[in-house]
Structure formats: structure tokens, C-alpha cells
């Protein structure tokens, strides 16, 4: 089943390109460490999901590119075409001549309605070229102007028009010390709107990915391209094909649907974090070998100590002893040390994957009281290696990962709101103070729900 990607704004388009590029080059990699037949099945599955064929043979990404200014889109289109391996559809983009000055309200209330028909038509054309539609990826930042306001508007439209298709928003969490002064306003407005119209919010934190680039990949001058490649690697490790069940060698048809059913069926708990291991520069890759035991031990500790990467993990954090209240139930003010999970999905790719032991992830102490580990923990596997990593593991987690960052943003936004700073920029375009209050209420509720699991 196919996924249509909507790339929104500068952020969405740059990341989208890296995602398709990673997916394509991985599926055509010769270092899959598997038989030719298996490789072909893997390729075909990836292709059906993310690309479509046209007459002259170069696969076309199932994507719609949207931005308010042409520069980034043109760059993206030409980068794809230059590769000669795949490209974007000729008429798959929508752009205007002017930006929106990082104004969420302008994106949501003006750009959105004005260009609704054209954008939804583009999406419709792409959907019609799918034999079967699983759902949509919407890649956007939450703090900028175009991506965030327009993205919220479009996600709502997708909910109205394609209510039976799934919607996963890949959202880019801004740097803590971001440059846009109203980024917190934009973030809370985006998040609250998305919470109502999206099925799952897969969060990529800029700060975390930046650290990965610096510490693990040893990149000196970190560019957006580096960050986006790490992000693409993370996404690819989740959505590339995996076997449909234990012991089967058929690839799963609908990973998006399976993921959502396993992780986000509850309407209050939609925030997903993503971790993967190992992550290293290409040079180091050739010299490293891993065992599943080592990888999974680190991944588990990353989960329970809320570490963003495999370096600097706090090994002191332990699951609470049963019978005592979980540490997570303490008030938010105190350090939330143990990360309680609602549900987890672990994806294993590579050599000897059948021998990996996942008992550590089935410990009931890791999970809430109202979900059995049998239900809460899921694992997908394939022995086909991903992106030249002989063994790699990814974790998509619906847990308390994001309470702290969310709380920080809400707090900062509230402080600004209390003095009504910059509100006129929003009220000018139809966003009322009441909308802000609604957003605060919703997000406070989300924080509270997650804190009390």
C-alpha cells in the first residue's frame, strides 16, 4: 500500500528529498547481505510504497511539494533530477512568489484557504496514481511560518477529504535556542491543531539530531543537509520493508497502518519519539561490528533513561520496583528520570536477526499498568541490512519522551502570552486569543495525561 508524502516549507522539502534519496539508494544497495531474490522483493516493496513508475523508467517519488517561495523547491527538484536515479513528478509542486514571514496565522488563515483548491488538487492527482492508498506523510516544522500554519491547515483538509486514510505528521521540533522569536507561539498552535486532525505525530528534535551529528558522526561543520540525512536514516529504518510476521518471508503490506494500530490507538497519546542504534560516520562503519545483545541493551537503556543517542547514556536509571509507585508519577517539577512507555515498536534489520533476544523490552516494569507487555511491545524484523549497517535497530516509542520538551515550549509560550507580546501578528489574520487559550488547554491536558500514565 502506498504512502503519499506532502513536503511543506523549506524544512519539509529539504528533509523530504533526503528521505526519498535514502529510501531509494538503500533499496538499490548491493550490500543488503541477502539473496538476490530477497533483495528484489525488498526493492519492489519499497518501490510500491514510495515511488511510481512512468514510461521512461525512472521512478517518480509519490510526493507533493508545497512552499510559498520557489527557491527551495527548485533546488529540491534539481537535486533529485541530477541523481538520475529517481525524480519528482513534473507537476507535483505548488509554490507562490512570496514568503509568509514566519507568520503562522498568515499561513493558516490566508495562504491555506487561498490555495486550498490547487494544493488539494495536486494531492488528489498523486492519490489517483496509487492502486491503494495507505495514508499520508506530512513533513513540516512546527515553529516556522509557512510549514507550520499551512501544514496545520492542510492536515485538517486531509482529515476532511480522506478521512479513512492515515495521517502521520513528521514534525521537526525547533532548537531550544531558536532564532524565530515567535517560534513557541507557532509551535503550540501547530501542535494543538495537529493533535486534533492527525493520527500520529512523529517528532524529530533538532537539538538531538544535531548532537548525533557532532558526537557520533564527528561532523565539524554541521549543515542542514547532514541533519536531514540523519533524520532520513531514522525514518528509513522504520519504514523500509519488514517481514509481516514471525517466520514469514513476505514483506508487510501496510507498515504505516500496523505502526499506528500498535502505538497510537488512544486519542490522547499521539506523540511518538524515534531512536536508533548504531549511528556513525561512513568511515567508521567499515571497522565496526556489533552484537544484537549489545545493541539492544543500549537501546533499552536509551528508552528508559530518555537518552537521545547511544553515547552518554545514564546507566543509573532503573525501572521502578513493582509495588512502589512508578517514578514517573511524581510531579513534573522533579526530574523525570525513568521514562515509562505506553507502547513500543522495535525494528531490527540485518544479519542473524532471528537470534536477537528482546526479553528486556517485555518487562512489565517498563510499561503502564493498563497495558500488558504483550500488547504494548511489538517487534518487526528483516534480515536484509539497511543503509550498509550490518545490524541496525530502531525504536519508535509512545512514551514520556516528549513531556519535558513540550512542557518547556508551553511554558515559554505562556510567558509571552501573559504579556500579550506579538499577539497582534496573529489577531491581525483571524487567530483569536481564544484560539491560543484552547491550544494551551489541549497541550496542558496532553502533558498531564502523559505524566499520569
Amino acid at each position: 500500500m502506498s504512502i503519499v508524502t506532502v513536503q511543506l516549507g523549506q524544512c519539509g522539502n529539504q528533509i523530504g528529498f533526503e528521505v526519498f534519496d535514502t529510501l531509494f539508494s538503500d533499496s538499490h544497495s548491493s550490500q543488503g547481505l541477502c539473496s538476490k531474490k530477497e533483495n528484489e522483493a525488498y526493492q519492489a516493496s519499497c518501490k510500491e510504497r514510495f515511488f511510481r513508475e512512468e514510461e521512461n523508467g525512472v521512478p517518480i517519488a509519490r510526493a507533493v511539494l508545497v512552499d510559498m517561495e520557489p527557491k527551495v523547491i527548485n533546488q529540491t527538484l534539481s537535486k533529485a533530477a541530477r541523481s538520475g536515479q529517481w525524480k519528482y513528478g513534473e507537476h507535483a509542486c505548488f509554490c507562490q512568489k512570496q514568503g509568509s514571514g514566519n507568520n503562522w496565522a498568515y499561513g493558516y488563515s490566508v495562504h491555506g484557504p487561498r490555495n486550498e483548491e490547487s494544493i488539494m488538487n495536486l494531492i488528489q492527482k498523486e492519490v489517483e496514481k496509487c492502486d491503494s492508498l495507505s495514508g499520508f506523510f506530512i513533513i513540516m516544522s512546527i515553529a516556522g511560518g509557512t510549514g507550520s500554519g499551512l501544514g496545520a491547515f492542510i492536515t485538517q483538509n486531509l482529515q476532511d477529504q480522506y478521512s479513512n486514510s492515515l495521517r502521520m505528521n513528521q514534525i521537526i521540533w525547533p532548537y531550544g535556542t531558536g532564532e524565530v522569536i515567535v517560534q513557541n507561539y507557532n509551535s503550540i498552535l501547530t501542535l494543538s491543531h495537529l493533535y486534533r486532525s492527525s493520527d500520529a505525530l512523529l517528532v524529530h528534535e533538532n537539538d538531538a539530531v544535531h548532537k548525533i551529528c557532532a558526537k557520533l558522526m564527528n561532523i565539524k561543520q554541521i549543515s542542514f543537509s547532514d541533519i536531514n540525512q540523519v533524520l532520513a536514516h531514522q525514518l528509513g529504518s522504520v519504514f523500509q520493508p519488514t517481514y509481516s510476521e514471525e517466520g514469514s518471508f513476505h514483506y508487510r503490506r501496510n507498515p504505516l497502518g500496523d505502526l499506528m494500530e500498535n502505538l497510537v490507538p488512544h486519542p490522547e497519546f499521539k506523540m511518538l519519539g524515534i531512536r536508533n542504534i548504531p549511528q556513525m560516520s561512513e568511515n567508521s562503519l567499515a571497522y565496526s561490528t556489533f552484537t544484537w545483545a549489545g545493541l539492544l541493551k543500549h537501546l533499552r537503556q536509551m528508552l528508559i533513561s530518555n537518552a537521545k543517542m547511544e553515547e552518554g547514556i545514564d546507566w543509573q536509571v532503573r525501572p521502578p520496583i513493582s509495588g512502589l509507585p512508578a517514578l514517573g508519577k511524581m510531579s513534573l517539577k522533579k526530574e523525570l528520570r525513568f521514562n515509562t512507555s505506553i507502547a513500543n515498536l522495535v525494528i531490527l534489520r540485518g544479519k542473524e536477526v532471528q537470534s536477537a533476544d528482546l526479553e528486556g523490552f517485555k518487562d512489565p516494569a517498563l510499561y503502564t499498568s493498563w497495558l500488558e507487555p504483550d500488547t504494548a511491545f511489538n517487534v518487526w524484523k528483516t534480515q536484509r541490512a539497511f543503509n550498509r549497517y550490518e545490524k541496525s535497530a530502531a525504536l519508535v516509542s509512545n512514551s514520556q519522551f516528549l513531556i519535558r520538551p513540550l512542557d518547556v515550549i508551553v511554558g515559554k509560550a505562556w510567558n509571552m502570552f501573559a504579556s500579550k507580546a506579538y499577539i497582534h501578528q496573529y489577531t491581525k489574520f483571524g487567530i483569536k486569543e481564544e484560539d491560543f487559550l484552547d491550544s494551551f488547554t489541549l497541550l496542558e491536558q496532553v502533558v498531564s495525561s502523559y505524566s499520569n500514565i
Partner: protein, 427 residues
Amino acid sequence: MGRRRRRVDPETGAGAWTLPEVIAALSRSLPAGPSPEIFRRAKFDRPEAAPALWRLLFHVLAPLPAYGPSTLPAPEAQARLVKAVLRSQGYPRPVLAQLPEDGSQGSRELLLALSWLLAREPLIERLLVQARVQLGDQVPEFEGEALASCGPPTSHMGAQVPTDLRYVQWLMGKLWFRWRHLISSQQEQCTLLGKIHLYTRGCHSDQDLGHLSVTETEMLRDPEGGQQLLRALGWENARLTAALEWRRWELVFWQWMDTVPGICPPEGPAAASQPPVLPRIPEPGLGELERVVQEMQALHEELQEAATTRRVAWEAQASVGGPGRGPQWSAVRRASQEAVEQELAALRRSWEQGGGPAPPQGHRLVRREGSSARAQGLRAAELTGLLRDQEARLQAALRQLQGQCQQELARLAAALPGLIWILPPGR
């Protein structure tokens, strides 16, 4: 039981059938039918006949498309299902429920159960219709009405383990995702069917149909599949022939069955010579029925009261407003009488229709170009019209149920002062 001599049938001149031949025809027409010898042994309650009869009853009663040859449940599970279905259909003899599920005894009881099933409805014909080999692509079955008529679930919650509400919400969410996936799959199926129909235009020898169905396309692609289809059609023919033979000679069987209850042990309830056909009364139904009757009576009284008050008020008004009884007045009166009659008629129609005309089943999907008027068959527009009506009825029923829920919630909220309701984030 001695061998009966074949008598000459005065009608056809052909030899009348013996009991073993008739039972053999019955067996051939049923799925998993056992040999006539099993039936004979069952009459004498021989234990070795029991497993075959359990198996037969399972295949007759279970919704077979759900079970492929490799996923058949264990014999104990099969026996449990047989018991459950017979109970829900109102099988009158309690002996059956007490039979052990390991298939070691009860063959006579099972024989009686089988003949009970055969007597109350055209069982064989129904099974044959269900198991038909379909050559065309069928319009999918519409089960909305069946679901709607389930009504609100009777609460079986006693003193059970308190379930966290969040877990219930989790399960609801999973159900919702599965539902959406089902719809997406159906849309995918439609797209692909459309493509196949489009690409095989002009390939069918029957001009009326014009294009191939999926089964026919597969048959052409894969000759082995064609052979399998042929075999399936052969089996179906054999069963149909057997069913016809059974219908012709079944009296022989019933005459024999008459002798079976007579040799049942005296503790068992005396069964009539032909088991009575019992209407199906679902277990909670009786209580429901009484409640419905009471509600209807209450409603009737309410309406009458309302009607009388209105009439009195109107008459008072009419007499106050002066003797407005000219020709104008009678015209108005006639018009309003007609309007009322029409409304009543419409109400009665919709009541009688109950769920309305069910969309007809068993139609083959055919794609046609243009709007050529054909006499037979159902056009897509008509079918969608029927479905829209059905949808509207179900929506109305849903709104009514939601209204009831809201009233119930309001009542509960009123009972607990100081309780604050926080609604989940919606749009």
C-alpha cells in the same frame, strides 16, 4: 433393519429407492456427509458413529468461508460450536447440551439434531447457495442492517475486574484503525476490479457481459487454476444432483426417522414423530419484547393525551374565532386531512419496510460504457440510491441512540453534584 425390496414406483415406473440409497443422496448433498452405515449405527446410539456426525454438524452450522482446510478447529472446539449454535437456534432437547465434547457418544442425539435442522428449513438448498462457485465478481454483501438490529448491548458487567478506561479507549482506537483499513482495502479492490474490467473489454464470448471477471481472467492466465475451477464445478454439480435425488425420495428417510425417537431411553423427553419447528427466540429477546410493549403503551398514552389537549384547545380557539365554517374552511380542513393521511401512510410504509428493501444479493458486477438501457439487472445508480436510503436510516438510528446516551449521561451527571465533565479534544 432388513433389506427392503425395491418396489416399482407407479409414477415413474422406475424402481423406488431404498433407504441406504436415499441416505447416501442426503450425504452427497451435504458437506462432509458420512456413509449410510453411520446413520444406521447412530439410530442405535453406537459410539463409533458420533465423531462423523459431530463433523457433519460442524460443517453444516459453521460459517464455512471462515475456515480453510488448514484452519479447522480441533474436534472439541467443533463440538462446542455445534452445541452453541443449536442452542441459539432453539433446539429443544437438553440431552444434546450434556453430551461430552470428545466425540465419544451421542450419535443418536446428533442424528435427531440433524433431522431437526433438515425439517425446519430448506437446509441443503441454503448450504448450496452459500457454497456456490462464483464465476463473476459479486457485488459485496451489505451487512449494515444486521449490525444495526443488534441494539445496545445488554450489560453483562457484574462484579468483574475493574478495567482501566484507558484500555477500553485503546481497544476502541484499534477497532477504528481496523475499520479504516477495511475501507481502504475495499477501495483498493474497487480500483483493481475496475482496471481488470477495463483491460479485458471485448474478451468475453458473452456479448452481454463484454469483459472478464477476476475468476475468468485467472482461469486464462493459469491453466491449472482453470482445471481447479472445472473440478469445483464438477463437485457442485454432483451435490446439486444429489440434492434433487434427496428431495424426490426424502419421505423414505422420514419414515425411517419416525422410528428413532421410539427407541430413545424413556428419561429423554418424548419427541414428536416429526420434531416441531420452533421459531427462533433469542434469549434476551423476551425481556426486551416486554419492555418494548410497555414503552409502546406508554408512548400511545402520551400521544393520546397530547392529541386530546390539542384538540380541545383547537376547538376552543375555533369556536372563539367565530363560525368560520364557510366553504373556505372546509377546503382547508380537507387539505389538512389529506396531508395527515399522507403522512400516516408514509409512516406506515416506512414502518412496514422495517429496514427497507434490502439491496438485492447475488448480482454480478459488470462494467458498461455509456448509458445503454438494459432491461435486466440493477444499475449502479439504483443500488447507490438504495444504499443511501439505508445509510440515512442507520444515521437516524445512530442519532437516536446518541441522544439516549446523552440523556443517560445528563442523568448521571445530575446525580453527582460537583462533578465536572472535561470533553476530549475534538473539532
